[in-house]
């Protein structure tokens, strides 16, 4: 079993890489063969990743949420799964390259650094924690996807505004659709993040002895939550649309990434179990 886990840790980054490479070939060079191969390749990578997560969970007897590297792999999986769903739902297969770059990065970091905890703390075996973590994870995946569509929106917007029609203009779907996808991502992300925060607030003080509301991770998450709350309010009440909302979505994403990486690496707090 362990052998297969290690094998998948090596295979997965390559599998992601070849998938995005084929998606890039299809997007930038309109290669016929890449167009036909890309979606089967996407499903292959998706299946490999699913198998990896299942055997890992079975072998170590806990869901892969105990270290940041396990979590990164799980986010990567959530993103690719969501993207596969988007492809089926919208019948638009052109944006894969831009989305799949993220699971590739997440999975590569995960594969490089992942280690098994020798002893998993009791606190990480709770079901409430599973709920807390999974809603946060899917929330982050949704935010990532939202940011990518926000970025693509801005690229297409720039092309149209400057009358400079590049490959982006030729291959991307329309602005309205990109905005809608980005918004759906944000909405999902926001709702799930809210759930994660609420569950966290109920469960964390009970579960952890040195719980503190001034924990950097908590503050970081709250900042992210507020930015998205402001964005959604601006859209709903002031009627902000298009470019401004997309820029906000990108800022939200940047702060999310900062909160996840810097806080995890450089600050110590109770929200760290490894």
């Amino acid at each position: 079993m362990r052998f297969f886990i290690n094998l998948f840790e090596i295979i997965l980054p390559f599998s992601y890489f070849s998938t995005i490479w084929v998606y890039a070939k299809a997007f930038f060079q309109s290669k016929k063969i890449a167009e036909t191969v890309k979606t089967p390749l996407l499903y292959l990578t998706l299946t490999c990743h699913a198998v990896y997560i299942i055997i890992r969970t079975v072998e170590y007897n806990h869901p892969p949420i105990t270290t940041i590297f396990e979590i990164l792999s799980l986010i990567a999986f959530t993103v690719i799964l969501t993207y596969a769903y988007i492809e089926i739902k919208t019948k638009n297969k052109s944006t894969g390259y831009f989305i799949l770059i993220f699971p590739f990065i997440f999975q590569s970091i995960s594969s490089l650094f992942i280690r098994e905890l020798i002893e998993v703390p009791q606190v990480l075996r709770s079901y409430l924690l599973g709920f807390h973590v999974s809603s946060a994870l899917i929330g982050y995946a949704a935010i990532t996807i939202s940011a990518v569509y926000g970025f693509l929106y801005l690229m297409l917007y720039h092309d149209i505004k400057s009358s400079h029609f590049t490959v982006v203009y030729k291959r991307l779907p329309n602005l309205e659709m990109l905005e809608r996808m980005s918004f759906t991502g944000t909405l999902f992300g926001f709702i799930l993040l809210t759930i994660a925060i609420v569950v966290g607030f109920i469960w964390l003080p009970k579960a952890i002895e040195n719980f503190s509301y001034a924990d950097p991770k908590l503050i970081g998450t709250m900042v992210v939550w507020f930015i998205y709350a402001i964005g959604l309010t601006a859209k709903k009440i002031i009627g902000w649309r298009g470019r401004r909302i997309m820029v906000l979505s990108l800022i939200g994403f940047a702060i999310t990434i900062l909160s996840m990486t810097i806080v995890n690496m450089f600050f110590s707090g109770f929200h760290k179990f490894y």
Binding site: L156, I160, S163, Y169, L172, P173, N174, L175, E176, M177, R180, G239, W240, R241, G242
Partner: protein, 285 residues
């Protein structure tokens, strides 16, 4: 003696500048005879929304500096334009450039089908005003042949490219489902009609047509199943539409940015796509 081309186009100057150097068909005869009298042996002046180009034959090689001033002086805009907006091509490069233009290679929409006709009109106008001579007559007839051959013998003309087509494509790059949207067509001329047809082929929901002479708008509306809007009531119509395509040439601006800003508030910031295919639709500042 040599052939020259002095020009300004969508690559060298922004729309605000090109607009200042745009000569309407009523201005052209005067400009042609004035320039012919004072400066050049032979000349053709082309002025479209993306380019203003002066092809001429001259005895001595004049430098670019004074040349662009001669052209801008015709519109009294020497202070608004700058020498860097212009290009000056001589002999073979001027000829190559002209062939590129008539073939549609130099157009903003690659392979544009309208440019060849625009060039032909410019040339015949110059001929009517006795501005051309042996050299330019020969050059332009060859250029038209080149343009025609490029379209029949290469793939540049495939898909009947034009600004009308591009405008319709642009609309569908902004809106997801055109059936839910209404377009306002300002100008019921050839370009307007063509644009309407391209939009209709993309399943546009509804179309409103406005034209200075109402009768023409009514005729077009009948064939397209659209409604007619009074030219004076254009601004009010902005509440009902999401796409505005203007194909009228006008000495006065039809829409002003100030008014559009106001409208955006009443529209609740719903996106409004305004595309002007000719000069003189919107005053930006």
């Amino acid at each position: 003696m040599n052939i020259f081309c002095l020009g300004i186009n969508h690559r060298t100057a922004p729309i605000e500048v090109r607009e200042k150097l745009w000569f309407s068909s009523t201005e052209l005869p005067f400009v042609l005879s004035d320039l012919k009298e004072k400066h050049f042996r032979e000349l053709v002046l082309v002025s479209t929304c993306n380019r203003t180009e002066l092809y001429f034959v001259s005895e001595q090689i004049t430098n670019n500096d004074s040349l662009w001033k001669i052209l801008s002086a015709q519109k009294n805009v020497e202070n608004d334009v700058h020498g860097s907006h212009f290009y000056l091509l001589t002999s073979l490069s001027a000829v190559k450039h002209l062939f590129g233009v008539t073939s549609g290679i130099d157009s903003m929409v690659l392979g544009d089908v309208q440019i060849l006709n625009q060039m032909k009109e410019a040339f015949s106008l110059a001929q009517q005003n006795q501005a051309t001579g042996l050299l330019l007559n020969r050059l332009f007839t060859t250029a038209f042949r080149v343009g025609k051959r490029a379209r029949t013998e290469t793939e540049i003309g495939e898909g009947a490219v034009s600004v009308s087509y591009a405008a319709a494509e642009l609309a569908s790059k902004i809106f997801e489902d055109l059936t839910k949207h209404t377009a306002l067509l300002i100008g019921a001329g050839e370009t307007g009609e063509l644009t309407a047809k391209h939009l209709a082929s993309r399943n546009l929901g509804n179309i409103l047509i406005s034209n200075r002479t109402r009768k023409r708008a009514e005729e077009l509306a009948a064939t397209l199943n659209g409604d007619v809007i009074d030219f004076e009531k254009l601004l009010e119509a902005l509440d009902r539409v999401d796409i505005v395509i203007s194909s009228v040439e006008s000495p006065e601006y039809i829409l002003k940015v100030k008014d559009i800003r106001q409208k955006m508030k009443t529209r609740g910031n719903r996106p409004l796509f305004i595309n002007s295919l000719k000069h003189g639709t919107i005053r930006w500042k």
